[in-house]
Amino acid sequence: MRTKIAKIFLLGALASATVSSFAIDITGAGASFPAPVYSKWAEAYQKQTGNKVNYASIGSSGGIKQIREKTVDFGATDAPLKGDALDKDGMVQFPAIIGGVVAVVNLPGFKPGELKLDGETLANIFNGDINNWNAAQIAAVNPGKKLPDQAITVVTRSDGSGTTAVFTDYLTKANKRWADSIGSGAIVKWPALSTVGGKGNEGVSANVSRVKGSIGYVEYAYAKLNKMTTLQLKNLDGKFVSPSLDSFKAAAAGANWSSTPGMGISMTNQPGANSWPIAAASFILMYKDPANKEKSSEAIKFFEWAFKNGASTAVELEYVPLPANVTDYIAKNVWSNIAK
């Protein structure tokens, strides 16, 4: 009887040992901004190599917290950490993908890209000064259009979000009053009386889709996937541009990645006739000296694969894949610092 039990245990242990050596599962958590493209990459990566990448879209602040607590193998954030914070935590940071934040509205009768706004007006809507769509300031930017008499409901993020950090970074650059009174960050104090909060980019899209006359900000992939009405924005050069792969690429063209420690540059309000004013990169955080070196190396292998093979997937979802010189820079200067 006892030898029988011992044999079963031995068999079970052997079986589980062999099974676990087949596939390595890595986990990442953080920004909902790049979640659509990370999940598509993870799907394709699993098909090709059998290794599973689990990504939890919990917001940039959640991602930073989870990687600091070492519960995930990589953290993702749109709001980059500064050089001294990275050094204190012993982490490295590198961009993985570039995308754009767009303003979406729920105004039946308007096609995507029909309504125009500039930074000043956008900031005044989000701080509650303008609360009806037929306001004179909006009409001034949209000559000839008939604007409805509809109260504006401002939809923002209720959780700590890198998308919010990017959006408010743009509003800070575009509107001096916003810069003085509210500023930018992952969570800000939204002053508009009608403000409604949604959880994640997903929550904001859902709220904007349901509330008539609402305006919110989401990553472009969400606006495209849910077929929402996007707005044209006026960029630094004074031209009105629509969000698209080309306008995001134009904004990213002049980026100087090595200028900031941790590659944490801001891409809002970039010069260029075709630049989208609210472009941003999304970053990955990993430890220089990870506790689980096998999983950390596997995560690097995933991103290496994604940089080489994931460009077409990214373009399909209207994200801008990193150009080759940036990925080479990352491989040489960032991944080399991670202990393998």
């Binding site: 919990i58 917001g59 602040s61 930073i64 009386l193 403000t195 409604v196 909060g197 959880k199 509330v211």
Partner: protein, 331 residues
């Protein structure tokens, strides 16, 4: 099977019988200690939760003092926190939910016990119990995708045109009809709480001795008189218990409320406006709060909810004691 020893007849205990009795004594002792352990586990867990809440909330409470409970500030960047918005949201949604749920539950329970034809009793009763078993996140999805559009396109305009026109009370029911907000959350909570209260009420109404009700009917009481003068007084402990159960669920409900309450950190007079409750604030912000004032303010909110639930329970017991004392003096 040995015959059991009969001590009164003075039969001498054989060795086997003595061994069996010793084993049974040991079993009793073991059973006694195990059940005592489980019961004291409850006390230990309760004390543990309370202590950890207080310890983690202490930095915020020390920083803001009692003003924490009266301030509507919620500034993460400037590190100024106040719990009034969340407390107001929790209390208002729960109270509104109960105001709607209690009469409806009472009506359903009375129907099921007094008026319902026999063939309908079983299916209706099962339907109510099934509703009570539905997970709360399903209610949240139902609320967000099905109920909120109906609410904003039919119910809210109706309320604005009727109740919203009353001079002073009307301001509570006016505002943009976006389908999410305090009133919508209260209605979803009412849907969730009705099955609970109905089940408890129906169960206690059914154990009223039929002889009491039949005597009342026999001297000519109407159904209403039987229910209010015989059934309700007899079952008051159960009814109050059921209502408190529903209130407890409404106070702590998280996901369903988070979906539809709008997550705004301000108090507006209108019930149509978005707000936030303690549970929805915790659900939204806990995952990413860094240890510091934000983190301990969230714990302070949790402690507040704990205290509110405790007060509700104490109030229920006090109310029951009063009712029973009143009945005692009346009789």
């Amino acid at each position: 099977m040995k015959s059991s020893p009969d001590a009164s007849k003075g039969i001498k205990l054989t060795a086997e019988v003595a061994k069996m009795m010793k084993f049974q004594r040991f079993q009793d002792y073991f059973f006694h200690k195990i059940t005592l352990f489980f019961a004291s586990l409850v006390l230990v867990i309760l004390a543990g939760i309370l202590i950890s809440l207080v310890i983690n909330a202490w930095p915020a409470l020390r920083e803001f003092g009692p003003g924490f409970f009266f301030s509507t500030e919620w500034d993460v960047v400037g590190e100024k926190f106040g719990g009034l918005t969340a407390i107001y949201g929790t209390l208002i949604t729960s109270i509104l939910a109960l105001i709607i749920a209690i009469p409806v539950s009472f009506g359903i329970a009375v129907f099921l016990t007094e008026i319902c034809p026999n063939w309908l009793k079983r299916p209706l009763g099962t339907a109510v119990e099934l509703l009570a078993a539905v997970p709360s996140i399903i209610y949240g999805m139902f609320g967000l995708f099905v109920f909120a559009p109906i609410f904003s396109s039919h119910i809210q305009p109706f309320l604005t045109d009727t109740v919203g026109q009353i001079p002073f009370l009307g301001v509570l029911f006016r505002g943009p009809a976006n389908g999410i907000g305090l009133l919508c959350a209260a209605l979803i909570l009412a849907f969730m709480v009705i099955p609970f209260i109905t089940s408890v009420m129906r169960d206690v109404f059914e154990i009223v001795p039929p002889v009491l009700k039949e005597s009342a009917y026999g001297i000519g009481c109407t159904t209403w008189e039987v229910v209010t003068r015989i059934v309700l007084p007899y079952t008051r402990a159960g009814v109050v218990g059921g209502v408190m159960l529903g209130l407890g669920r409404a106070l702590g409900e998280t996901m369903a409320v988070t979906f539809v309450i709008g997550n705004a950190h301000r108090i507006t007079p209108s019930f149509f406006a978005p707000g936030s409750s303690i549970a929805s604030t915790l659900a939204n912000e806990f995952g990413e709060a860094e240890p510091g004032l934000h983190y301990s303010s969230l714990f302070a909110l949790g402690l507040t909810l704990f205290i509110i639930t405790f007060i509700v329970l104490a109030l229920a017991k006090w109310m029951l004691a009063n009712m029973e004392r009143a009945q005692g003096t009346k009789n």
